[in-house]
Symmetry: C2
Subunit: 199 residues, 2 copies
C-alpha cells in the first residue's frame, strides 16, 4: 500500500498559535487582525510580523497547527480490530469535535476562502487526503481479514468524509447542537449496512 | 388583500438579483461591493441603494431569490410513487446543482457568515426546514404505503441533508468535481439499505 500523504509543514510558534485561537474565538475570522492577535500574544504587532509576514501566512500556519493536532488524535487511535478501530475514528471525527464549536465556526470561514487562497486550499486538501487514507486503511484491513464486505474502500472513505463534512457545516450554519450526533448515527447506519451487511 | 404588483416585465429587483449573481461570480463574496453590483446593473449605486439600504440587506434578498428558485425546482418534482419521488428530490439536491459551482462558492461564504449575520442564518434555517419537510413527507408517504421500512422519517431526512451539505462543502473546499456524484451514490446506498432493506 502507498505511504500516507506527506504532511510535513512549517513549525509554528505555539504561543502565537494559541493567541490566534483566542483572537479567533473572540472576534471571528472576518474581524481578525494582526493587532488583535498581538494583543492576545501580549506583544507588539512587530513581534508577530517577525514570525509571519502577512495575516494569511499566519492563518495558514494556524491551519497547520490545528490540523496537525487533529491528525495526532486520529493517529493515537489504537490498532485494535478493524470494526472497533473504525468506530474510534468516527468518534474522533464526529464526537470529539463537539467541544470545539468556536473552532468549527472559524474553520468553516477559512474553508469558504479556499477557492481564493491556495495556501488554505492546500492544507484542507492534504488534511482530507490524510483522513481518507486512515479510513481506507482500516476498511482495507477489515476486508482482507474477512470482517468487512468487499466494498470499494476509496468510495466508502469518501462517503464517510461527506457525512463528516456535512455535520461540521450544519453544526455551524444551523447552529444545530444535534448535527454531529445525527451524523454519527448516519455514519453508523452506513457502516452497518454497507460494511457489515450480514450482521 | 391587495393584489401583488405586476412583476411580468423588467422587475428592478430581479434585475438587481441577476446583477448580484454576475458580480458574485466575478468578484466573490468577500470583494463584493454595491459599486460592483451597480456596474453589473448598469445604473448608479444610488439606484441600488433606492431598493436596498445596505449590502447585507441586498444579500439577504439575494439569498431569498436563490433559495426560492431552488424551492421552486423542488416543488416541481411530480408526485409519482414515493421511491421515484425521493430519487427525483435527491437528483435536484445533488445532481442539478453541479452546473452552479460559482453559486456554491458564494453560498458557502454566506453560510460561513451565518453565526455573525442573523438575516443569513434565518434564511438558511428556513430553507433547510423546507427541504427536510419535503423529504420527510415523501418518506412518510412511502412508510404508510408500505414501500419504505418503518424508519424515523425525521432522522432519515436529516441524514440525507447531512450528505447533501457535505457534498456541497466538499465541492467548493476541495474543488472536487466528483464530490456531488460521490454523495449521490452515498445517498442512494443509504436509501437502499435503510428505506428499502428487503430489496
Amino acid at each position: 500500500m502507498a505511504n500516507p500523504p506527506d504532511r510535513s509543514f512549517s513549525d509554528p510558534d505555539e504561543e502565537i498559535m494559541h493567541a490566534t485561537y483566542r483572537a479567533l474565538r473572540e472576534h471571528g475570522y472576518a474581524d481578525l487582525t494582526i493587532k488583535r492577535i498581538a494583543e492576545e500574544y501580549g506583544k507588539s504587532t512587530a513581534a508577530v510580523h517577525y514570525h509571519y509576514d502577512t495575516k494569511d501566512d499566519l492563518l495558514a500556519a494556524f491551519l497547520d497547527f490545528v490540523l496537525e493536532q487533529f491528525v495526532d488524535t486520529i493517529h493515537e487511535v489504537e490498532r485494535t480490530d478493524p470494526e472497533q478501530r473504525l468506530t474510534l475514528l468516527l468518534d474522533q471525527l464526529l464526537v470529539e469535535v463537539e467541544e470545539h464549536q468556536d473552532l468549527l465556526v472559524a474553520i468553516l470561514e477559512m474553508r469558504s476562502q479556499a477557492p481564493y487562497k491556495e495556501a488554505f486550499a492546500d492544507r484542507f486538501e492534504q488534511n482530507d487526503e490524510y483522513v481518507q487514507y486512515m479510513l481506507r486503511t482500516v476498511i482495507d484491513d477489515g476486508i482482507s481479514q474477512g470482517v468487512f464486505a468487499d466494498v470499494d474502500a476509496e468510495h466508502t472513505a469518501a462517503a464517510l468524509m461527506t457525512i463528516v463534512d456535512g455535520a461540521r457545516t450544519r453544526a455551524v450554519v444551523l447552529d444545530d447542537a444535534d448535527a454531529l450526533a445525527t451524523a454519527r448515527q448516519t455514519a453508523e447506519e452506513y457502516v452497518q449496512s454497507v460494511l457489515l451487511p450480514e450482521e
